[in-house]
Amino acid sequence: MNFFASIGRTTLDLLREIGRFNIFAIESVSGIVRPPIFWPLILKQIMRIGFYSLPVVGLTAFFTGGVLALQIYIGAARYGAEQFVPVVVLVGILRELGPVIAGLMVAGRVAAAIAAELGTMRVTEQIDALTTLATDPIKYLVVPRWVAAVISLPILVFIADVIGVFGGYVASTQSLGFTGSIYLNNTMNALNNHDIASGLIKAAFFGFIIALMGCYYGFHSKGGAQGVGSATTSAVVTSSILILATNYILTNIFNFFSF
């Protein structure tokens, strides 16, 4: 094949993919203001995305908080700054690790599930069947999922924050010899609304990314079982990368506004 032709074809494919994604994203977002809105489906998705992710998110948050305390102690002890462990654990969990860990865990759980479900629906023509029954598949399938994820993720992250800080407390009091009341006192004194809010705002963005990627890859999967498999993989990989990249950008924005 001609070298230039292959460059041209790759470029066109890339542009086509970008265009397709943008149209999909715009239709998905605008679906929230175009009735009908399927409220019962949103509730059902909140259960599936939010509630059933609680065990996974809770456990990872606990261990992350614990290990964070242990590692910070090592660094802080070199400068005799052990008393800062509670503060650093708190800020680390609220601002970064709570949302990021919860986001990545939910990406693995939920983006995969959504991509597999919608991918199977695509391959078995169920999505086309929705259209023939005068129901917009974007409004019926995509909008409830992203709305549910945007609602669920901040709640999940809030719970992850509490459990993560508790993990740090357990590690500090059990392994590092901190006194429980002093640790808690330091934590409560350091607590501030900006730390909490910035983590929850991030969580809402991550929820949107997870649901949209799962839906997008599921919606456009093709070619039977293998296609659904690769859609699932792409959904998890892409949403994980986007979560980390978005996290970096949002942290920069928050820092810029001293939020």
């Binding site: 009908p36 629906m121 078995t124 023509e125 169920q126 086309d128 069947a129 259209t131 023939t132 029954l133 005068a134 129901t135 917009d136 019926y140």
Partner: protein
């Protein structure tokens, strides 16, 4: 939306659709009169499903016009498109039942979600339509995964006729069924559709089925209709492509593209 002075229920004019460099529909012309049952035959991969998806707006053709009741349909959006889609019912090749819903909810889906009917009323209609395709009310309470292929097809048929659409599309209604079940489905299609004034477009490569349900047969080859005529004339079409297809011969003008 231009109106044309035509009595056709569905009319396709010069419809072209390609995927990448592969041309699937190459200026397809087809007319279906009201109340007519037209069957389009053709080999696998000749674009039969693509044709139906273009009419429904699931796929957007690059060129050509599609008229339904004299209204141009390819540029419809929003509410106009919803109203347009309510004219149609469709039976999919694999039935395409929603596996997260009960059988009766599948049948009632278009009534509840598409038309905003109350659940209890929609349920009654769903049960009535299930009875029409020979399924009991108990089946209505099952999940689609618990049904055999033939029963799934029947549920798919019940779903397609649930809202009494003006136009019904059948995508390979008998593919994958044993000959007896295929005949049951053919009979159901004839029974549920004939006499109701419904216009139907079926695509199939099953000639037994085509002869049974068609008023007229058209043959699709390389993205164009190469022959069309009343069902009785298919045996003396004088068209070598049609002859090869209906007799199932490997030798003839149609060459199977073995190399993809």
């Amino acid at each position: 939306m231009a109106r044309v002075s035509s009595t056709a229920k569905v009319e396709l004019r010069g419809v072209k659709k390609r995927f990448g460099r592969k041309v699937v529909l190459d200026g397809l012309d087809l007319t279906i009169e009201p109340g007519q049952s037209l069957v389009v035959i053709g080999g696998s991969g000749t674009g039969k499903s693509v044709m139906i998806k273009c009419v429904l707006g699931i796929l957007r053709p690059e060129a050509g016009e599609i008229y339904v009741d004299g209204m141009e349909a390819t540029r419809l959006r929003g509410r106009g498109r919803d109203a347009f889609l309510r004219k149609f019912g469709m039976l999919f090749q694999g039935a395409a039942l929603f596996d997260s819903l009960f059988v009766w909810e599948n049948v009632a889906f278009g009534l509840i979600q598409g038309r905003g009917m109350q659940r209890s009323k929609a349920r009654d209609i769903a049960m009535e339509k299930l009875a029409k395709v020979g399924l009991s009310a108990e089946v209505g309470e099952l999940c689609p995964a618990e049904l055999s292929g033939g029963m799934q097809k029947r549920v798919g048929l019940a779903r397609a006729i649930a809202a009494d659409p003006e136009i019904i599309f059948f995508d390979e209604p008998t593919t994958g069924l044993d000959p007896i079940m295929a005949d049951v489905i053919n009979n159901l299609i004839v029974d549920t559709v004939r006499g109701t004034g419904t216009t139907t477009l079926s695509i199939t490569h099953d000639l037994v089925s085509a002869r049974k349900i068609a008023d007229r047969i058209a043959m699709l080859y390389k993205g164009k209709i190469i022959w069309e005529g009343p069902t009785a004339e298919i045996d003396h079409s004088g068209n070598p492509y049609v002859d090869q297809f209906i007799h199932g011969r490997a030798e003839g003008p149609i060459k199977m593209e073995v190399k993809a």
